[in-house]
Symmetry: C2
């Protein structure tokens, strides 16, 4: 959606390693925004994006108008079922239908391709993988590790909305992941305890929590009150001030956001296709 | 969906005139059948279909299993909005979503193509055109005139369900089209009068009517109680015995089913792309 940051540019550089021709799509997709969401004032800076994309290795930027992607009379939508229901699906009705629809269009236009997505939008990545599989689209979907600021905050175009005070409080999201990671690393497998540890960090800074959930990493089904598996997705969405932020990690698979407990794997390039599929 | 009849074979022959490589897809698509519909006993005769398709000029027949078109865990669906709502959409919830989904899959697999559809399933044709346009699929959709039995009954695999007595009563569907056509040809433009004339023919044989509707041929919106335009879709669905039959014609554009009032254009090949888009 543009307003490119280092997380996006890491995707461009990884794409360049995988393919000779790299297209960056920049499109603030209206169908994935709810009526009360931030479509109108979503950060946009195409001139700056073109410079950044080019410097990172993009061969082309595809930045269509909404009227080019949604033709006059457009009324076709693509939806993915169960994967779009939990987590953000509960709080953003229609969001993943908008995402699946625009990506189906882009994939049809793009033809055979490798497509890179950041793992910050973990549920989006799962939805896209499912859609590509189900519709037989000739696309290899690759997830890229989350790129973070030095204090662990996941990079996001929406971080630009944060005041300095909010920016400081936003650190609670990766802190929540770290708290749960420490417990998990010590052998804790109770879903309630892992969730509560992450939630407590958000509550410390009075973030308005949409959800903090522990879920199956493949099916995204929340674990409820039982024990989690050897890998467990910890995912959260919360508002700091009016800015909605999301973050996640796969416990048992990934290093924590600040890399403290992992021996510094943060920032390492993925060794191949990621394992989220 | 197989159980090939002359209507299907006319599509194969027309395809052969338009392309060097013609694929016939034969797939009784489970997602387009409602829970109380005839999926289980829909007519199937693949051995006979292969012989007929080959004789009509097919280069290949694609007849996958349901598990090949709907992979394990499949949950992606394609839906078209307003065009799928009226007419059969009112009586077959989910039907056009199943149609759009399977055709999106087939079109992605098929790549650049011309795709032929019979105009008997007029609403299906409109839905497919819209989906192809909206998703930028590289497919030219061509509608083919309805192929009819000598007494005017539209050919359909479901005609095989009819007893001899029901087969005779089923003639009421094209009779209804003819009645409305005669009025239209004499200048009648009142939607209620046109609808009633067609409906009366169905009532004569005690058919159980789902709908008889006069609608805009492009948007499929029913005309209600007003005056129709220079072209008007007359569409109907009715049960004769337990067999659901559909039929339609575009008043002001097409000859009536038996060709009586038109100087015998019935059976004529289309002169180019049809005008239903």
């Amino acid at each position: 959606m543009g307003a490119l940051h280092e997380g996006h540019l890491a995707l461009v550089r990884e794409a360049k390693r995988r393919a000779s021709f790299v297209v960056v799509t920049i499109f603030v997709n209206p169908t994935q925004f709810g009526p009360s969401e931030d479509l109108a004032h979503y950060p946009r800076d195409l001139a700056s994006d073109l410079v950044k994309a080019s410097a990172a290795g993009a061969s082309a930027v595809f930045a269509p108008d909404a009227s080019e992607m949604y033709l006059d009379g457009d009324e076709t939508r693509v939806r993915v079922g169960a994967l779009a229901v939990p987590l953000c699906g509960q709080y953003r009705p229609g969001h993943f239908e908008g995402v699946a629809t625009i990506l189906a269009k882009l994939f049809v236009l793009g033809g055979d391709a490798v497509a890179l997505f950041g793992r910050k939008d973990y549920q989006q990545l799962a939805v896209v993988r499912r859609m590509v599989t189900d519709l037989f689209l000739p696309v290899e979907v690759v997830g890229h590790p989350i790129v973070r600021e030095s204090d662990g905050l996941a990079m996001s175009s929406r971080n630009a909305y944060l005041s300095p005070e909010e920016r400081s409080r936003a650190r609670a999201l990766p802190s929540g992941l770290e708290a749960a990671h420490r417990l998990f690393a010590d052998g804790e497998r109770d879903a309630d305890i892992l969730r509560s540890a992450a939630r407590a960090e958000l509550e410390k800074v009075a973030a308005s929590i949409d959800y903090v959930e522990v879920a199956d990493p493949s099916r995204l089904a929340p674990y409820g009150h039982g024990r989690v598996g050897a890998r467990a997705l910890l995912a959260m969405a919360a508002r700091v001030g009016t800015t909605r932020l999301i973050d996640n990690m796969v416990l048992g698979e990934e290093p924590p956001p600040s890399g403290v407990a992992s021996g510094g794997r943060r920032g390492e390039e993925p060794s191949g296709r990621d394992r989220a599929s």
